[in-house]
Symmetry: C2
Subunit: 261 residues, 2 copies
């Protein structure tokens, strides 16, 4: 089966894309809600947590791991690729490839403090599009706004204006939404950065890339489990999480709880 993990529930956006673009594949999801969020924590700690999350999914039978979390993708890939016995997909390279394809040369990046501070997106962009200019801005308040369900509030529009004004002034033409939660704020972000800016959703691009990969690797595709239902596991369960999970996926979600570490 395909294992997907995130620091919390944001990675369900990747699950939603899997359902949409690759229906039929069996998914095991893990959300580390006991230690969420990762975005303001240290590189070493995020790597340790990410490895524990991924190992749990492998122990449940995952044959491929998708790191839905941009923060873990930005800082933990070295650890994950070295330590795990299965292929690991992150969300950064597909998002960068998509941005490079459409940009006219001025690319914006937003994400958590850890994601932006790691320089991983910037490094990939430098390799793929050395002539492009890149402008990055951490936006730590966006995640709590989405989790509070205030996607369309006046306050979040004000926050977006403050965070994104510099990117607007730099006349970016493409913006990478470098955090699983940000696609929920798409209209607010689009309004704040100005007209004509292409918004790149790493969840969508990653699933599209995985789908292409399986199309040219029929052996791997055939080996993936397509029987049985999806499973959703969290390290801490609250009613708030359960409600958000069902809302986001548009179907009832049974959350199992497992403590890690």
């Amino acid at each position: 089966m395909i294992g997907v993990f995130d620091s919390g529930l944001g990675g369900l956006t990747v699950v939603k894309e899997l359902h949409r673009q690759m229906p039929g594949y069996r998914i095991a999801y893990f959300g580390d809600t006991a230690r969420t969020p990762y975005g303001g924590k240290s590189k070493e700690l995020i790597s340790q947590y990410a490895l524990e999350d991924a190992r749990f999914l492998v122990s449940r039978g995952a044959q491929i791991i998708v790191v839905a979390c941009n923060t873990a993708s930005a800082v933990a890939m070295g650890t994950l690729r070295a330590e795990l016995p299965v292929p690991v997909w992150e969300v950064i390279s597909p998002a960068v490839a998509a941005a490079v394809k459409v940009t006219k040369g001025r690319i914006g990046l937003i994400g958590t403090r850890a994601t932006v501070g790691s320089g991983t997106y910037q490094h990939h962009l430098e390799i793929e599009a050395p002539e492009a200019e890149v402008f990055a801005e951490p936006c730590p308040l966006f995640v709590p706004f989405v989790e509070e369900g205030w996607h369309r509030s006046k306050a979040v529009r004000e926050v977006a204006r403050t965070y994104l004004n510099q990117l607007k002034l730099r006349r970016i033409d493409t913006l990478i939404l470098g955090c699983t939660h940000y696609p929920f704020l798409r209209p607010v972000i689009a309004a704040a950065v100005g007209k004509g800016v292409r918004l790149i959703d790493p969840a969508r691009e990653t699933v599209a890339a995985l789908k292409r990969h399986l199309a040219v690797n029929p052996e791997l595709a055939k080996s993936l489990d397509r029987v049985g239902s999806d499973s959703y596991t969290v390290s801490d369960r609250t009613d708030q999480f359960a409600r958000i999970a069902s809302d986001w996926l548009g179907r009832p979600v049974e959350l199992e709880t497992v403590r890690l570490g």
Copy 2:
């Protein structure tokens, strides 16, 4: 020494009050920054984390524990008092006693989702002031705003208006700031709830109560260590945390890192 813990750095407001009201006592602080925040997590998990935090401080020689975190005070006191070999102070009873002393009968309470949802403040208020009316409102976005350093932003004023409008309409006369971070938002909160509302800061009231307690318990007071410097330990260290800690305490803070659990 006096052990103080919190889910993160918010509990430094208690340390600041200790420095102000009880200078000279030696303090050991622990902030669980690897698992912060607690406010949206489950009762069981918060109790487990709080016990690990407190046990760490006892292992370092704390002779008394102050639970600076309102969330842990609201849900974990049963566990902490049963399991720890030293006296445990929480921030709720002193805050309630102070509120009851000044109210004319209409008390507001704000805090994290876990604090408000636990009903602990409401239960104490019911016992201490059965005739008072209590109106409670969780305000989950306040903590991220304080941690982002946006205490005085237009956006946080908008958020405060949205959260506190109901309390204003109920004509509360007293408001308990039931989270360690909220005193940083005092001017914003005061403006949003309207004139003449008394704001109660649990950190200040708890330290005042502890000071009175030591005055009438000279044996306990004498047993507390007053030699040596304070220590500050976190379960995850980032530059952001280090900067906030020094800013809040108004002195350079050396953060030691220890992994728990």
